[in-house]
């Protein structure tokens, strides 16, 4: 029971990180119907920006909460610029091209970003001292102590707050409405006088800044990053997006949590070496029984 509780806590934390990345995949898919394979690497860039900013702030004597907030903002702004640039350079010129073209371009961008970070930061792993330490301990008198660290609380709370803001943004603001309109009919959206290109750019900016927050959480949680983390995290977040139903934003959040939980429970109870297999086999099984994912809407074409 105690062990289960611990895995649940760990799983929810990991799931939050995946969920934040998955939103970026699902939004871009929703609006332009392509899988942005460079998104995992945007997440990696976010992790690096957060790491660098943490190290720089460590030299100053600014209080921890302010450091966290500033790092969050810096990571979001820098990474949003990366996301925006990638869209402008690699996807926008191909918008009227055939469907596979931006996909190939995305794979290329992924390689470019990885190699750029490798060249700029070196190939060796980078480490970060724990920024937030300590936590609550439960069941200390039994044979297994459950720990809920402050960092885990921080990660889950930031995720919940960001997702709430994001949901408000999508459902309440004019831009969010325009974004949903673009998903359904881009031509008609343009005929309503809405700048579709700008709306698409905003999608990338928002998706990238959420991924950068995930990157910041990742570097704080694991304390170790390298230029290659974007690949696996990206693929898993993509899995999460598909699991929840690609194109559906609540689906991405749900899928992220599920993948995080499945992975943690699998490594806790079955085998830690094969934890990556758990996530991907779940995907295969789910797609057999729910081809559109859990919350995805089937594409019904009226004849």
């Amino acid at each position: 029971m105690e062990y289960f509780l611990q895995q649940l806590i760990n799983g929810l934390t990991l799931g939050s990180v995946y969920g934040l990345i998955a939103i970026g995949y699902t939004m871009v898919y929703g609006i332009i119907g392509m899988i942005n394979f460079a998104h995992g690497d945007i997440f990696m860039v976010g992790a690096f920006v957060a790491l660098i900013s943490f190290i720089l702030f460590a030299l100053t004597s600014i209080a921890l909460p302010i450091v966290l907030l500033l790092t969050l903002l810096i990571a979001m702004v820098f990474t949003a610029c990366y996301g925006w640039t990638v869209e402008k350079l690699a996807y926008k010129p191909l918008r009227k091209s055939f469907r596979l073209a931006p996909l190939i371009s995305a794979l290329g961008m992924s390689i470019v970003l990885q190699n750029y970070v490798q060249a700029a930061q070196g190939a060796r792993i980078k480490t970060l001292q724990p920024v937030i330490q300590g936590g609550f301990n439960f069941f200390e008198d039994s044979n297994f102590t459950v720990t809920l660290s402050y960092l885990q609380i921080f990660i889950v709370i930031v995720t919940i707050v960001l997702m709430a803001i994001f949901t408000l943004f999508i459902t309440r603001t004019a831009l969010g409405r325009a974004q949903r309109a673009c998903e359904q009919d881009r031509t008609m959206t343009a005929l309503m006088g809405i700048n579709v290109d700008r709306t698409i750019s905003m999608t990338f900016i928002i998706g990238s800044s959420l991924a950068s927050v995930a990157g910041m959480m990742f570097v704080m949680y694991y304390g170790v990053i390298d230029f290659y983390i974007g690949f696996l995290a990206g693929i898993k977040a993509f899995t999460a997006a598909v699991l929840g139903g690609i194109g559906s934003i609540p689906g991405a959040m749900l899928g992220g949590l599920l993948i995080g939980l499945i992975e943690t429970f699998w490594s806790g109870y079955i085998s830690i070496e094969y934890k990556d297999i758990a996530a991907f086999s779940t995907l295969v099984i789910v797609l057999i029984f729910f081809p559109t994912g859990f919350l995805g809407k089937p594409d019904i074409e009226k004849v």
């Binding site: 603001t173 831009l175 309109a181 009919d185 309503m192 809405i194 579709v196």
Partner: protein, 264 residues
Amino acid sequence: MRDNLLDVENLSMRFGGLLAIDDLSFSAKKDNITSIIGPNGAGKTTVFNCLTGFYKATSGSMFLNKDNKKLDLKKFSDFKVAQKAGVARTFQNIRLFPQMSVLENMMVAQHNKLMIASGFSILGLVNAPSFLKKEKEAIEISKYWLDIINLTNRADDNAGDLPYGDQRKLEIVRAMCINPQLLCLDEPAAGLNAKESAELNKLLLFIKNEKKTGILLIEHDMSVVMGISDHVVVLNYGKKIFEGTAKETKNSPEVIEAYLGTED
């Protein structure tokens, strides 16, 4: 002429060897319903596509009179057609946002002013009073139009769940929400029953008389065309074969020939 809303002069559109529009000139007046009719493949929709920037006309010019300024419609493309020139259009098939509510469909059309009022969403997120006021105005405008087409009680339903005839009307009032100078309607009566097309006529006359918006109408349903048009332009094979009032058109030998053929 000064009081013309739209002047199309010598418009031609060529697709390879096919001349879809051949040296077409016509004008549309403000607060007039101008119908473009003709047999299938006459080039009617192509005219709309040129006007709304989907196609670049091969030659000729299109001028829109907006606030006493002559706008060259050739210079507008994509979203600027609606935003800057004030030309709204609908398609032959229904192009609502089916998974958004009726009200949201109306609000999307008022995006630009809301976007400015919301300080590009930042003020919208914190529910600033200035934004809420603008949003309330937008809802009022939506409600005004929904009242006219009797859809206010369905404002929160998904647009895709409405009956076909209501979807058609919703498309038209949604287009009115962008505050257009010129409303281009491509076969709005297609698929409507007699009662629904009578309601459509009423709505179009209301837009013309009360809103003083010029309407350009492509239509096959002659009860609509003959009932409400002030001016009819008849196309065949991309050429204008006749222009005049509804009554003149009905009796014109050229038009009858284009539709029914000649006796040999």
